[in-house]
Symmetry: C2
Subunit: 343 residues, 2 copies
């Protein structure tokens, strides 16, 4: 097993926390000594121990403190060097007697970045950074976006017919995509901290925007359900599910707020990531204002016609937005094209 | 080797003729005796020998006529029983002393369908039909459509951005899709007998609609290039490539002809299949009039905005058109979703 192999174990650990840790990032760690894995762990929730502390605690369940001395810890993210809601992980590593630290991504917060190295090296601990950097950075993408820009990572999700429409002719079913694609939408919801829709969508579809099926986890807080309206809160009846179901305290209405200010507000609330599930008009505005970081377009193998497009009408964008490394997946007969918008 | 295995060899033979045989279908045949393949062949061109005759001739190159006696012939399509431009294959089979005929698809022409069985059985020849039926029918889809309806098989091809548009902002490149996707378009062109565009496309893009690159084969005739215009032939300058290049005699302009009459005309010209490469307005009309049999949508991972859609504006279709068994392929960063419209 190489450093890269162990880092993959740490990455798998981190993935357990995707969608659960905001405003913190998802981080995983594994402790190894002489080819044996002594313990592993992942950050479960803001305010709870960091991944390094989890891994140390996990190792101590089956090993004595002296057995941990001289071990290597693999962490997906640079260990924190300052005490926040929990004590600094660098201290924990030093106290445990770990003698080698291998990490993937650098702390995106410029104030902290690189500090860990100095402290660790000063304590005679060997440091290797940048192992599986790209994959480790992928895990903290939303966190890194918020930390570095004050805006959350924005995913634009829509389901369209092959002619780009989002509604079917009268008398046909409501859905364009099949069950498997709709299950995937719930998995995407499970990774975000807020879901944005327009007032129009609420009035038309009365959605509940919850996480259902296998994607639902007890530890996952209902994402904020954010309704943007220009017609005042009064335009939205309290009878809509968003305002009267069991998660009603997780619904926010913003009136007349610009899109960028909406996103800033959500970042302030600790949202690392936001999912747009709005109609074409709003979707188009987010695109135009270059506020979209990632796109997930579900394409149903159907032609519908109709006047409602996944991405609303209008002139050309100032410049085209490209997806970097688009991933294509099929869910039954439907196709998902997903990728990050090239910065 | 089973009957199915040998039929697959016949199918592979037939595929050599895709796009070359109109108004005839693509057919392949293989002759087998005691587990040995004696010969195989495919129909190369209307007026040339049918696949059965090709296979017999091929077998006779390396075997004596007496060696062919008692053999089995596998054909993708029911052998013809009437003399057309070439003598009936049933006679050839009987004359050769073949004693077993295995075929896939039934002759889609109701006048001929089933006749071969009777003649063959009457001559003491064993007949087995329907082996790999679906795959064999796939090979003759365009031919079957024309024979049974008087209309060609219509493939609607377009390349769109993920927001459904077909043009990019000013100052950017002309192409949405990459080179690999554009090569695939040439392979699709190589399988059809005519390509339809609107006058608008000619005026805007001045296309040549030829088959280039690896898709080009010496035996393939340039598909008809059909321009539909409501503004009279005078609206189209003779300087456009379609009217002055080496294939100019393969360009037809139809003025004020309905779409269905256009297709009927092309069927009369012997076209089994037609490719639509028109803009959104015309594409939408073909869809609305339910004249589209197959769809090939290339999706580029890009958002452009703009007012030109792959499938033009308008109300809902009377009913949605579904693709049966959509196939999803990627060409570089681009995605092709292709499938038959559910009848």
């Amino acid at each position: 097993m190489t450093d890269t192999d162990y880092m993959h174990i740490a990455i798998a650990e981190a993935k357990n926390g995707l969608g659960l840790t905001s405003p913190n990032p998802s981080v995983g760690a594994v402790i190894v000594k002489e080819g044996n894995i002594l313990g592993k762990g992942w950050h479960r929730k803001a305010g709870k121990p960091h991944a390094e502390r989890e891994a140390i605690a996990n190792a101590l369940k089956t090993h004595s403190p002296s057995e941990l001395k001289g071990s290597t810890i693999y962490v997906t993210l640079e260990p924190c060097s300052t005490t926040g809601r929990t004590p600094a992980c660098v201290e924990g590593i030093i106290d445990t007697g770990i003698t080698r630290v291998v990490y993937g991504a650098t702390d995106p917060n410029p104030i902290h970045s690189g500090k860990a190295d100095k402290q660790l090296l000063g304590n005679g601990i060997e440091v290797l950074s940048g192992i599986e950097k790209e994959e480790c950075e992928q895990l903290i993408k939303p966190f890194a976006k918020r930390i570095s820009t004050g805006l959350p990572w924005v995913i634009a999700k829509t389901a369209m017919s092959l002619d780009g429409r989002i509604t079917r002719p009268k008398g046909e079913g409501q859905w364009l995509t099949g069950e498997l694609a709709r299950e995937e939408v719930h998995r995407i919801r499970a990774e975000v901290d807020a879901i944005i829709v327009g007032g129009k969508t609420v009035r038309k579809d009365n959605p509940n925007l919850t996480i259902r099926g296998d994607a639902h986890r007890a530890e996952k807080k209902q994402p904020w359900r954010v309704v943007l309206t220009e017609h005042g809160k009064k335009s939205l009846s309290n009878d809509y599910k968003l305002f009267c179901d069991e998660h009603k305290e997780r619904t926010i209405v913003y009136e007349d707020l610009t899109l960028i200010d909406t996103l800033k507000e959500l970042a302030q609330l600790g949202c690392n990531s936001v999912l747009l599930e709005c109609g074409g008009g709003l979707m188009r505005q987010f695109l135009e204002q270059e506020l979209v970081d990632e796109v997930a377009v579900f394409l149903a193998p159907i032609f519908t016609g109709g006047s409602k497009f996944g991405f609303g009408l209008g002139d050309h964008l100032e410049r085209s937005s490209f997806l970097r490394n688009p991933r294509v997946q099929t869910f039954g007969v439907d196709t998902l094209i997903r990728g990050d918008v090239r910065p």
